[in-house]
């Protein structure tokens, strides 16, 4: 090992036996990936998403991209359009619903966004995807409320409300960018969606949480611009 080896970390590796080298490089790779993903350690996956739900979600996102004004209920984008930042790391996040408290007329869904992302990114776009069960003949009014904890964190306030008339089973979308952005702004990570249907319909979502029709939020986010100090 030449004297310069002492100055060059990678050259120091050459002096080690192959097993030690491999061990050090593996540890370095883990540390590097976790640091770049802002994760304190590798996540333990408690609720892996089924392949069916993942493929259906990716397919719906593709359809939505190809035909933004899909028949569902695409709402005007309410997040002010942020021009793409050059070279900033971007994220696409798929968050599948957790079931909340529900009655015959109301369904609560929770979407949780990770702490690592909530504090470090700005939301470029976020869309809620819902699959309506067959409502039967005629049109059926459904109210969708986006709830978020108030400043005390004890009560839920309505951040956004939309009413729609459902005529048939199928996918519907709602832009929730503003609500997710304000959640992140408050340092919260959980978005609660309340669906209220008319009496005669019962649960508006596909009964039985059939895997591939489970509600999800698809969000696009971008790392925050590093804080630049302007010198004059």
């Amino acid at each position: 090992v030449a004297p310069m080896g002492a100055r060059c970390p990678a050259c120091g590796l050459a002096a080690l036996d192959p097993a030690a080298q491999r061990h050090i490089l593996m540890a370095r790779a883990k540390q590097s990936i976790l640091a770049k993903l802002r994760l304190p350690g590798r996540p333990n996956i408690t609720q892996p998403v089924s392949r069916g739900a993942l493929l259906t979600a990716l397919g719906r996102m593709h359809v939505q991209r190809m035909d933004p004004v899909s028949p569902g209920m695409s709402h005007e984008s309410s997040v002010p359009h942020l021009h793409p930042g050059v070279g900033l790391q971007e994220y696409e996040i798929l968050s599948f619903a957790e079931s909340g408290s529900s009655t015959s007329r109301r369904v609560h869904l929770h979407f949780r966004f990770t702490r690592e992302l909530a504090g470090n990114v700005e939301i470029l776009k976020a869309t809620l995807y819902l699959f309506w069960a067959d409502p039967g003949p005629g049109t059926h009014p459904v109210t969708i409320r986006l709830l978020q904890p108030d400043l005390t964190g004890l009560n839920m306030t309505v951040a956004h409300e939309a009413r729609l008339e459902v005529q048939r089973a199928g996918w519907a979308t709602l832009d929730v960018g503003q609500a997710v952005q304000s959640l992140f702004g408050q340092g919260s990570q959980r978005l609660t969606v309340e669906l209220e249907a008319a009496e005669d319909w019962g649960s508006p979502l596909l009964a039985g949480h059939s895997d591939s029709h489970w509600p999800f939020v698809a969000a696009q986010a971008r790392a925050r611009m590093p804080h630049r100090v302007q010198r004059r």
Partner: protein, 114 residues
Amino acid sequence: GIDCSRDSKMCCRQEFFVDFKEIGWEDWILQPEGYHMNYCAGLCPLHMAGIPGLAASFHTAVLNLIKANNADAAVDSCCVPTQRRPLSLLYYDRDSNIVKTDIPDMIVDACGCT
């Protein structure tokens, strides 16, 4: 750039593949199957300053500068990445959300001497 062979001494790119299954990460990283954590290693004596991986004219310019500025005072230079690309990951985060992101400059494609 130059890829290292078994007995390379000069500045080159050392390939190193981390298989996520081998480190038990295949359950939370859905794609890809591994990470090419290549790195640069090797010596950069005076006559190699500024190569390879950069424009030949840069190498000539560096050598002329060294000659013009009293060559024997110049020291060796360093073997560094001259070309890198992002690592695209599809993974589960701590709340079982699925996230796709491209981490910039994670994979070294070429090395050269400063």
